[in-house]
Amino acid sequence: MHETSIALEILKTSETVLAQHGGSRILRVKVAVGELSAVEPELLRYAWEAVTVGGPAEGSRLEVDFLPARQFCPTCGPVARAPGAWVPLCLSCGAPLLVEGGNELDLVQVEFEVDGEKP
């Protein structure tokens, strides 16, 4: 389960962002996770709870923006499908489908508190 290593990387960067802005506590962190990034959002949230204990991000919320990969038919265009369901061939013309996107693994936003200021 590499979600723990990834949660630790998110924490490290978030703490740097917090320090840069003179914040005291992290309230919410937003990440973008692509469908093909091999990261499980649910496991990432559990890992986040575990790695933030005892630090400035303890009790904070990890918001995961899950981005689907897109499948395209070279002749018919975009193909609708359920998340995780990979369609090998175009249902209309039988052509092998192509895949685009879904590899995102980004830290997007950090919401924090500054000591002495009312939120």
């Binding site: 290593s5 960067t13 840069q20 802005h21 091999a38 369609v87 090998p88």
Partner: protein, 220 residues
């Protein structure tokens, strides 16, 4: 409303930088680097033994083996008289670029033609970590079931070579090779698919030729 900072940073930025440093180094040293990824038991070590045996005498090769806790796989390679170094990940299910940097310092392989990185047996976690390699190879053995590519699309989409291993079992085990190849092509239309058997030697020549061509291309 609390203050928020918009960040837009790659989560694996530290790994990306380490991988970039490795890539530069491998380019200077003109070493081709191949990252092998598969589930446990797909025959990675056996394939490597057969590959190294074929390349030895022609090319200078070495292997970095990632394992959670044992030295067994590296020992098998060393028995062939070839340099191997085991990276014990201490429980982690993947290798990262910093571990590779550290291992290369300790292993002291010298100038190499091809460095193989045998990643930890796992089709998910190693997928996210760039190790500065020239390309990833995913192995899928005929004993694993023929629905794997769609179950683990990320690695099949990212590996530029898919090796179907243990093809000597074709017709013995229930495995629809054509269906699997179609799945892989869907996920990665530009990737190469090779059928190999380390046991009978089938496909091994094509695989070794592929490696030699990639090395020549890198040095061109």
């Amino acid at each position: 409303m609390s203050p928020t900072a918009d960040v837009r940073a790659q989560i694996l930025e530290a790994n990306r930088q380490a991988a970039e440093a490795l890539r530069t180094r491998f380019l200077q040293e003109k070493t081709l680097v191949v990252n092998l990824i598969s589930s446990p038991g797909s025959g990675k070590t056996t394939l490597l033994e057969a590959t190294l045996a074929r390349l030895s005498g022609k090319l200078k090769t070495a292997v970095l083996v990632g394992d959670i806790a044992t030295e067994r796989d590296a020992d098998r390679i060393r028995k062939l008289g070839l340099p191997a170094y085991q990276i014990l990940t201490g429980g982690a299910c993947h290798l990262d670029a910093r571990q590779v940097q550290g291992a290369l310092e300790k292993a002291g392989f010298g100038a190499l033609d091809i460095l193989f990185i045998e990643n930890v047996g796992n089709l998910i976690c190693p997928t996210s970590y760039d190790l500065g390699e020239d390309f990833k190879v995913v192995l899928l053995s005929l004993t694993e079931g023929d629905d794997k590519p769609f179950k683990y699309p990320a690695i099949f989409a990212r590996a530029s070579v898919a090796l179907l291993t243990k093809v000597d079992l074709l017709g013995i085990v229930d495995f629809d090779v054509e269906a699997v190849e179609r799945q892989i092509r869907t996920l990665n239309p530009h990737g190469e698919i090779l059928r190999v058997s380390a046991k009978t030697g089938e496909g091994m020549e094509a695989w070794c030729r592929k490696l030699e061509h990639a090395l020549v291309a890198k040095r061109a």
